[in-house]
Symmetry: C2
């Protein structure tokens, strides 16, 4: 009668929390999106894993809840964190139909943090995290949030910066941010964080505007204080003592 919704981090065991690993090991069955279910299967070959495809989030959560209601201990795995752009919210919503199932959120390291660590320390201070996907948020709301985050001089992390249908979304987002920030603002991106083929690049906001990234990329836009120090993207600490 237990469903763990588990953030498994960026893609390797080092990026998982000890608690996430315990939840997976304690579970009778693991449910996840195909890619993450396969990843867990490679890491823990003895575990029974079930998967559903992209955009089948409701089916996936229902499957996990049904298995838990049948008496199994289940881990529903999400990449990064289990809340942020993950399945914990939907699991808690749908769990009202399964009152016997105890749903527990197990936090994980989201791409803003695992990717930030690759670049150096962009996220030293106040940070806004925004997804450019309009599947679940209206475009006007995304644009408003970009404006507010840029105006507030937050370090901005962009998730889902691109897809086949949305090839120019990053360019549009940069154009909005360029209304508030210098074209020389320090930016960076990381692709395939923690996986084979991980790559990263530092660049200016005007360069980022004209760069194509794919859906496996997380984008970082510095605040007015962010610098490149020793080849790393760093938002320095403090306005009084530096």
């Amino acid at each position: 009668m237990k469903l763990y919704v588990v953030g498994i981090g960026c893609g390797n065991r080092n990026g998982m929390t000890v608690g996430a690993e315990k939840a997976v090991l304690e579970s009778d069955i693991i449910v996840g999106y195909t890619v993450y279910a396969e990843q867990i299967k490679r890491m823990y070959p003895e575990k029974e894993c079930m998967s559903t495809g992209m955009k089948q989030e409701t089916e996936r959560v229902e499957l996990a809840l049904r298995l838990a209601s049948e008496g199994k201990t289940v881990s529903l795995v999400c990449s990064g964190d289990s809340e942020l752009y993950g399945m914990a919210g939907l699991a808690l919503e749908l769990a009202v139909k399964y009152p016997d199932v105890d749903v527990e959120t197990v936090a994980g390291v989201s791409a803003a943090f695992s990717g930030g660590a690759v670049l150096g320390s962009p996220l030293t201070y106040d940070t806004a995290i925004i997804s450019l996907s309009d599947l679940l948020t209206p475009t006007k709301k995304i644009e408003k949030r970009l404006r507010c985050a840029a105006d507030g001089d937050f370090v901005i992390v962009l998730y889902n910066p691109s897809s086949k249908k949305r090839a120019d979304y990053l360019k549009k987002a940069c154009d909005i941010i360029l209304e508030y920030r210098s074209p020389d603002t320090v930016c960076g991106y990381v692709r395939n964080i923690g996986r084979d083929g991980e790559e990263s690049r530092l660049l200016t906001l005007s360069q980022l505007r004209d760069t194509s990234v794919d859906m496996f990329t997380t984008v970082f836009i510095g605040s007015s204080e962010t610098k490149i120090i020793g080849g790393k993207m760093v938002t320095p600490r403090g306005y009084r003592n530096v």
Copy 2:
């Protein structure tokens, strides 16, 4: 010649990543703020630990860099994540004086996520993280960010919501947010996340305004979509399919 800046999560081993634990175990010496150095000492009693007090961040980082430059493998530990309100930025800044030392950021689960998991799933979508401490950010900039985050309908997570000198900062922050959001907005807070005496509460924004919290508390202010579902704070997933 290696310095790991390690986010150790919320306060217990389950909240640490496997990679953070490896870095600590691989290190000859651990450096941290007194509370976190003691925590590591309890978890790994065989490890040599050195600590410095509050507001001695520069001394702490210099100590860690000096030890690393003398040939030791060092972990500089931070609670939560190593970037966000952590030491990674300062370490990368000061490391220019120690060109032989390789500084590696090891990400951790920040309180927004470990605390969010306690409350349910407040952070399902776009999130703004703001510290109310004016030690390192001017008050005017903090107020501007609160306005922008509220106007953008972000879920807002407040770090350092209070201290002895700033007893009314949370009230002031709530007053700013109340210019943009309903007094009935779903809010929550978690105190001592992952530690003895962990406690959490759900309340409205108007109730939060008149609540005293301490410096060990992380505060969550829902977006216009955040609800209480089954006793948990949940930002529901999606505007099309719910």
